[in-house]
Symmetry: C2
Subunit: 356 residues, 2 copies
């Protein structure tokens, strides 16, 4: 509840005067520092209460901690991120730390700006979800402030990482689709195909797994990768084009649930159903379980990841300096969007050439 709105003008000085003690004494009380008599503590607390005093975080930040943890996220619209935030919030509850979120401007750069902004604001630690920022830059940053990165597979020396085992997760998807009998499986990725392959990026890993799985299944010639760096709407359009081609795939594995929703949309646009085209995603966002969507996907337990990240960060703030690297196990969730492929008429015969 609101005990009293902040007046914004009560300083530690006022409290000290009111309580008849020194500023230092008040400071000690509010920090629970060592060396305060119960009597003084009581008087100070009363004065604080009476005056509605709130310590200025800015002033504190100049000497010590701000009790603020910054969380940078790349985009607000993807429903997976709130899971991370919820986990982090939960882990932070009960600590004196306040979580603030800085959204990266999706247009401009990889979140450098947002992370900067957080650091400029003297946060005591940073959690970030920027798969593409330069590791070196991060190392230098981490030398200044505790950092935990979510969704990076590179092993860092100065900061912690929390990732989902993307290789495992993607393999589970591919195995599932192959087991169902699919051979024409396309992959939808957000990784730009012409750019240099970024090694530690989850989507790049999922792409790689897709490629190798296809190869191992003797389907190297059926590999089809679509790249839609520009978001979900794009995914829908790109896939719609694909689906109206005569040799459309029987299954699409999307690197995220969001584009997977776009794929499902495209499937509907094309007048098809899950019986015609199976769709799998990755993330297990809330809506995936809805009967109207029913998307087969991989649960990477974002809440747990967020919680872990926050815990690691608090440890770092408390002094740990050895890097830690937490890997969360993903779990395939099979729903109605993936089914065995339906044998096609004439087209199936044409295809038979390449098969045993």
């Amino acid at each position: 509840m609101a005990s009293r709105p902040p007046t914004g003008s009560v300083t530690i000085e006022d409290v000290a005067r009111e309580a008849g003690v020194s500023r230092a004494a008040v400071s000690k009380v509010i920090r629970n520092a060592y060396g305060v008599s119960p009597a003084m503590k009581a008087r100070v607390t009363e004065a604080i209460e009476k005056l509605g005093y709130r310590p200025s975080v800015s002033a504190r930040g100049m000497r010590g901690a701000t009790f603020t943890v910054g969380f940078e996220i790349p985009e607000l619209t993807n429903p997976f991120f709130p899971k991370l935030l919820a986990g982090a919030t939960a882990a932070m509850a009960g600590t004196p730390y306040q979580l603030v979120i800085a959204p990266a401007d999706p247009e401009h750069g990889e979140g450098y700006r947002a992370i900067q902004a957080l650091v400029d604001r003297q946060v005591d630690g940073v959690i970030a979800v920027s798969p593409m920022v330069d590791p070196e830059w991060l190392e230098t940053l981490a030398a200044t402030v505790p950092v935990v990165m979510i969704g990076r597979h590179d092993r860092a020396s100065g900061y912690d990482t929390v990732v989902n085992d993307d290789e495992d997760g993607a393999r589970q998807v591919m195995r599932h689709l192959l087991d169902l009998g699919h051979k024409d499986i396309a992959h939808l990725t957000s990784v730009p195909l012409k750019a240099a392959p970024a090694p530690g990026v989850p989507q790049a890993i999922r792409l790689e797994v897709y490629r190798t799985a296809m190869q191992e299944a003797g389907l190297a010639d059926r590999v089809r990768v679509l790249s839609t760096p520009h978001g979900v709407l794009d995914a829908r359009e790109v896939v719609l084009r694909l689906l109206t081609e005569p040799d459309r795939p029987t299954a699409v594995f999307a690197c995220h649930d969001e584009p997977a929703l776009g794929v499902l949309h495209a499937v509907a646009d094309a007048g098809l159903t899950a019986a015609d085209v199976s769709v799998a995603g990755y993330d297990d966002i809330e809506i995936a379980a809805h009967p109207g969507i029913s998307l087969t996907t991989v649960n990477q337990d974002g809440e747990r990841m967020g919680r872990l990240a926050a815990e690691l960060l608090l440890e770092r703030i408390a002094g740990r300096s050895e890097p830690r690297h937490e890997v969360v196990r993903p779990e395939l969730v099979v729903r109605a969007s993936t089914r065995p492929p339906r044998p096609r008429g004439g087209a199936a015969r044409l295809r038979a050439v390449g098969r045993t």
Copy 2:
């Protein structure tokens, strides 16, 4: 791009020394203040560049502005809020202000804590989406820092408000359902029914409109209100119970899209379809347009509201003090989740009237 990671230790003093000028001179340069020769500006800029200097927001906050705008949101999971944030972010781009988001702890209180936390951190202004916080508390707060509230219908004197015309929007929904021929319309609200009616709250207004619309249509005895303050899962369960009763409603108007999704889920759980139970929501979240959901709802243009809020706040920060009250016009979006009621029992003849 990252010009250079923040070192965290370069102060204005260092820059002054490097450039061979005074601290004040550097201060003026970074603030674009009046009275700096181009020559000095160049030298200072160079020194800043070279040293990778970043002004400490905390230190700045002690004297003046932090160039930070705080945005408090009640929950992260509701996909409507990202729209607000996107709008605000867009409006803020190009200004020197940075947006930081403070999520309210859904368990504890109405966002007082989060707003407090923001103010403690010396933000230059606050945008908040807390329909229930005490207006008086807000007025006192607004005396200290510029405030814009989103989704409040009360007219304030010290702060601005941005709302959607909930009365209009809810009326559009009710008219639509009634026009379709529905008589047994239930309403699902997040307003606790036993508590004192909170006047300015959007959901309370929608509830009121529902009641009056039913009355005006001569359906006062068909009024059925379900309250699910505890979230979406709840909505699904509560509605499922309702739908399995013998005299189930033919339509449900939910106060938000999120619970509406729960209703759709319940409809499916009960083995029913949109032909059996029409569902309408409010917000027009992204997924509502998906063919698997296809939810009739009211678009309240969250992006525009967010943008407006940010603009109003910037105006306030710039000095305006007369309160402003912006009302955004809502727009009904009819989708497949609402259809004419199917005549029950013997009267199957009316069936032909309905379209596909």
